[in-house]
Symmetry: C2
Subunit: 253 residues, 2 copies
DNA sequence: CGATAATTTGATCCAGTTCAAGCGACGTGG
DNA sequence: CCACGTCGCTTGAACTGGATCAAATTATCG
């Protein structure tokens, strides 16, 4: 499971903090499970490994990676505290998971996890709902990848990664490398770099550290990322189309 | 719900045939539900409509569409017999669904559907499994969109649409328009056209009708689409990487 | 049979890739 | 404490796949 949607307390790259258990009901399943720590850059599991475990990210960040036959690398998601890793109905994991930062995970035997899910209707609901959310997120990602310019991609990525607010501004932790971002957004490292530089140049954001940027003009960034789910625009647009086609519509059933 | 994965009996654009109930357990839920027919090009529901119903495609094909604020259109999936349409945990549908061909759908009140799912563990399993499959499919699609060339995109699209076999060859029904394909694969109608023409020119496929193509060289098409899940390549590749990093791996927990 | 929409084909153009070269931070060993 | 290599990132310059613009051609349907 991946494609984080929830906005949770960001993880500090160096210190270890507790995950916000209260927000994710599913976390309660993991509360007493063994804790595993992985150093930055290490592997949690490999694509193709027998899928015997499910994890919950407690703190830190992991990336889920898929490889194409020609060596091209795709990051299917960055997972943060509260996200589940490895939930699937396949025998094998369909992606490799690596620690981006030092990370703490709670491990759950997949078998037990499935039993618990079957036993607890409330948990089931939560998991189901989470799957649906991720489904939508994956589609959003597909839209992003297929139809958006470099500027739009980066802008919406930054907005999704934005978590902490200081005063007027948003601080964005980017513990992953530029290559990771590129592989996530379907662009090259050079374009990622050029685009961030451009944004910084036009005063939209400031780069303190390469891994910590501050959004100075949230509005501008939003208007660049524009259209993501721009409902105030879409609603009237749909209404118009609906009008146009309502007569053509034949509901035979 | 979308991104069809299962390979099912293809739908003929003009005749009405029964869906293969035996293959999808979930279909049994819909067996006695009211049947609705929609003419080609008509709307089943709109993005933003209150999500009160769930459908199962019985025969024909529908497309799930999302609109971006600037009018760009994305097709998130083509749905065929056995596929469920509109399953979600949102109040509103997140995409518009249109009939590509004349289509028959079984309608289910969402409320009842959810009750049934809650009541029948077997159905729940099936639905869950289906969601997971679609999750993976959506990710595959994201990979396709972000990292593949026009040739690769079209080749793998054709392979996924291929269903019926006649002799050595595969017949592919493409009831949707070129624009639909373009919007699904994240390319322009011109590129879709040029690429199909090129494939036809190099003897990989033959175009009978614009909407019915025959794959003449499955192998060539596969090697163009290559890499999709090319495990015979990936497995050794992963093994090598694993070797390289196994010593660096620190499992602290 | 003519009108209209869908598709193909042709000719440019450009965003983003590719190739190539600096740059700064960090760690290591002398 | 500093030279030196490495790594991740930025910057520059040329190149290209696919987009865009513009017809021509071919269904499709009254």
């Amino acid at each position: 499971m991946n494609m984080p949607r929830r906005l949770v307390q960001p993880t500090n790259q160096t210190s270890i903090e507790d995950a916000p258990f209260s927000t994710t009901g599913l976390s309660s399943l993991f509360r007493h499970q063994p804790l595993e720590r992985f150093a930055a850059g290490t592997i949690v599991f490999w694509e193709g490994d027998k899928a015997t475990k499910v994890f919950e990210v407690v703190c830190g960040m992991v990336r889920a990676i898929r490889l194409l036959s020609d060596g091209r690398r795709i990051i299917v998601g960055f997972l943060r505290p509260g996200d589940l890793v490895g939930v699937s109905f396949k025998d094998q994991y369909v992606y490799t998971v690596e620690a981006v930062t030092k990370v703490e995970l709670r491990r759950f035997s997949r078998h037990l996890f499935e039993l618990e899910i079957a036993r607890q209707p409330a948990m089931r609901e939560l998991l189901f709902s989470k799957l649906c959310d991720e489904m939508t997120a994956a589609q959003d990602q597909a839209v992003l990848l297929s139809r958006r310019s470099a500027d739009e991609k980066l802008a919406s990525f930054l907005l999704r990664m934005a978590t902490r607010r200081i005063g007027q501004h948003m601080v964005v932790d980017l513990p992953m490398t530029r290559q990771d971002i590129a592989d996530y957004l379907g662009m090259t490292i050079e374009t990622v770099s050029r685009t961030t530089t451009k944004f910084a140049g036009s005063g939209i954001l400031a780069m303190t550290d390469r891994h910590i940027i501050t959004i100075l003009s949230m509005d501008e960034l939003r208007s660049i990322a524009e259209g993501e789910e721009c409902n105030h625009w879409i609603a009237p647009c749909l209404a118009k189309m609906r009008q146009q086609t309502s007569d053509a519509r034949q509901l035979i059933g």
